[in-house]
């Protein structure tokens, strides 16, 4: 009971913070919308892929990007939390480290999912057709991606001593994960060097999975995407829990 209430407390806190920082939500959606409207719209006027307008084609990719960025940043933010703020209070609470990790992970994932939902709404403007089933599977992909990436952020953040490494992680981890994921191009018939990067990028499976679910245009079977992403999320959550157990 105590651990569950602790979990609820951690999640409640993230939700309050999220709801009070509305400017953060707006700014986190601004870049993805630029990608879809300007990049997608511009290129889409000339390009369509497999009968799908380019702007619509990249929509699942940009949706995944929104979740990728906000999730990793949420996790990395713990570097700050460790120094100041509320986190000290949490560490001295009589809660297990697994609970603390789970609370942070769920809190961050739900934040990212809310942003994902805002993007889904924008999909209506692009003419994406939603059904109960494809929304359900989209949510599963979004949640798996979010929980994996929040965990990844938390792992890096809990092992990082200062905020100076931030830019490095963004440049050498987050942006590559986005670009190699096939968010902006089909992953069929890629040059082999590029394909090698793409198949080791976990975001690829989220993008392909959501693309398959929403547009019926995946390269791999949806179940393959689902299980690979699930496996990656499980590993990240496991390593994250372990990192938190070591955290002083």
């Amino acid at each position: 009971m105590g651990e569950l209430e602790g979990l609820y407390a951690l999640w409640y806190r993230e939700l309050k913070v999220f709801s009070r920082e509305k400017s953060r939500i707006v700014s986190s959606l601004f870049t993805p919308l630029l990608w879809i409207i300007v990049f997608g719209g511009g290129l889409g006027s000339a390009v369509s892929l497999g009968g799908i307008n380019y702007q619509v084609f990249i929509f699942p990719g940009i949706l995944a990007m929104t979740i990728l960025f906000s999730s990793v940043f949420f996790g990395l933010y713990i570097v700050w939390d460790k120094k100041i703020d509320f986190f000290k209070e949490v560490l001295v609470a009589p809660l297990s480290r697994t609970t603390i990790f789970a609370g942070k992970m769920l809190g961050g994932s739900i934040d990212a999912l809310i942003q994902g939902c805002a993007m889904l709404l924008f999909g209506l403007v692009l003419g994406v057709r939603y059904t109960a089933l494809n929304l359900f599977f989209s949510f599963i992909f979004m949640f798996l991606l979010a929980s994996a990436m929040v965990s990844l952020g938390l792992i890096i953040g809990s092992n990082m001593g200062s905020v100076e490494g931030f830019q490095l992680i963004v440049s050498f981890l987050v942006f590559p994960m986005f670009f190699f994921s096939g968010a902006l191009f089909p992953i069929k018939d890629l040059p082999s060097w590029l394909f090698a990067f793409t198949i080791v990028d976990p975001v690829t499976y989220a993008v392909d999975g959501i693309r398959g679910t929403l547009l019926g245009a995946s390269t791999m079977p949806i179940t393959t995407n689902l299980f690979l992403l699930l496996g990656f999320a499980a590993v990240m959550i496991g390593v994250g829990t372990w990192s938190f157990a070591r955290l002083k």
Partner: protein, 323 residues
């Protein structure tokens, strides 16, 4: 007799550095106990071990009868901590901060509202409870954290440098709140401080900590009376120390820069003679001893007042980075 806190040869080493060196303490229930010492003396490390945030290298300690290593969860539930640095969430309101704490520390549901109201009243924050903490002053924030530390009915409260960085008037208020808590809430309070006036004003007993060891432990007044006389503080360029040291009523002589501190029995009667012997003096002050003089007496150094020791977490981060 059960002690609120009892340590037995408690030791913490960081490689070569011995931060806490074989500490033996027995703190009674219901007292305000001060750990007084300069930066790096080992106060905060001691506190971190008692709060189960750090594991001791050797030795043991019991808090409320629970072993700090074997029963850390029980220890955590039975103590409250106010950190040196602000640790309330400034995006949340005061009441929300307390609500979260109640959830995390397992305050039963039917008691929550009532406990929150109670601790808010204790620190006079009822009127501001629904304001976002960002809008609080430094003193209000400290009061909120004091209230939060008390929320789950702890039997021992740890306050790490509770008035660091606060203005004199606010410090006075915080002291009043702390004194009041001990009376009404029946808790034992352990504070770390490097402010002499704070230890003097607030504590029933004070342990002077230097290099991780106890240099002296007693009530503030007993410590001061051990100095054995009054203190004469002189500003002087080139004192004739030889002439002074021979006098039987001069108990101790400490020189730092152009300041000379003498501990003298019945100082006012002997002032004339001292001034005659010592040479040309810039200024003279005679006063009764303070804890500062006690500290000087035991360690041969003056405690510095300008900056505080790093907080619990900075120390931990430092220790991790240093390994």
């Amino acid at each position: 007799m059960v002690y609120a806190v009892e340590t037995n040869n408690l030791t913490k080493r960081y490689g070569e550095l011995v931060a806490v060196d074989g500490l033996d303490l027995a703190i009674n229930e219901g007292e305000i106990f001060g750990l007084l010492g300069p930066n790096g003396a080992g106060k905060t490390t001691t506190l971190s071990m008692l709060a189960t945030l750090l594991k001791p290298t050797s030795g043991t300690a019991r808090v409320n009868g629970y072993d700090i290593v074997e029963q850390s969860a029980e220890v955590r539930r039975s103590i409250g901590i106010v950190f040196q640095d602000p640790s309330s969430d400034d995006i949340l309101t005061g009441r929300e901060n307390l609500y979260l704490h109640a959830l995390m520390f397992g305050v039963p549901k039917h008691e929550r509202k009532q406990r929150i109201q109670h601790v808010l009243r204790l620190v006079d924050l009822q009127d501001r409870a629904n304001d976002i903490v960002k809008k609080y002053s430094g003193g209000m924030r400290r009061r909120l954290e004091l209230a939060r530390g008390l929320l789950h009915n702890p039997r021992v409260m740890f306050l790490d440098e509770p008035t660091l960085g606060l203005d004199p008037q606010t410090r006075e208020h915080i002291w009043e709140y702390v004194e009041n808590l001990v009376k009404t809430e029946n808790v034992t309070v352990i504070i770390t401080t490097h402010y002499m006036d704070e230890a003097d004003r607030l504590c029933n007993r004070v342990a002077i900590i230097d290099h991780g060891q106890i240099a002296a432990l007693d009530t503030p007044s007993a410590l001061k009376s051990k100095v054995g006389g009054e203190v004469i503080r002189l500003r002087i360029r080139s004192p004739n120390l030889k002439a002074i040291k021979g006098l039987d009523y001069v108990l101790s002589v400490n020189q730092s820069g152009s300041t000379l501190l003498l501990t003298v029995k019945n100082a006012s009667a002997h002032l004339q003679e001292i001034l005659g012997l010592i040479g040309e003096v810039g200024s003279v002050e005679v006063r009764s001893p303070t804890l500062n003089d006690v500290f000087l007496d035991y360690t041969g150094r003056e405690i510095r007042e300008e900056s505080g020791e790093g907080g619990v977490f900075e120390r931990i981060a430092h220790a991790r980075g240093g390994r």
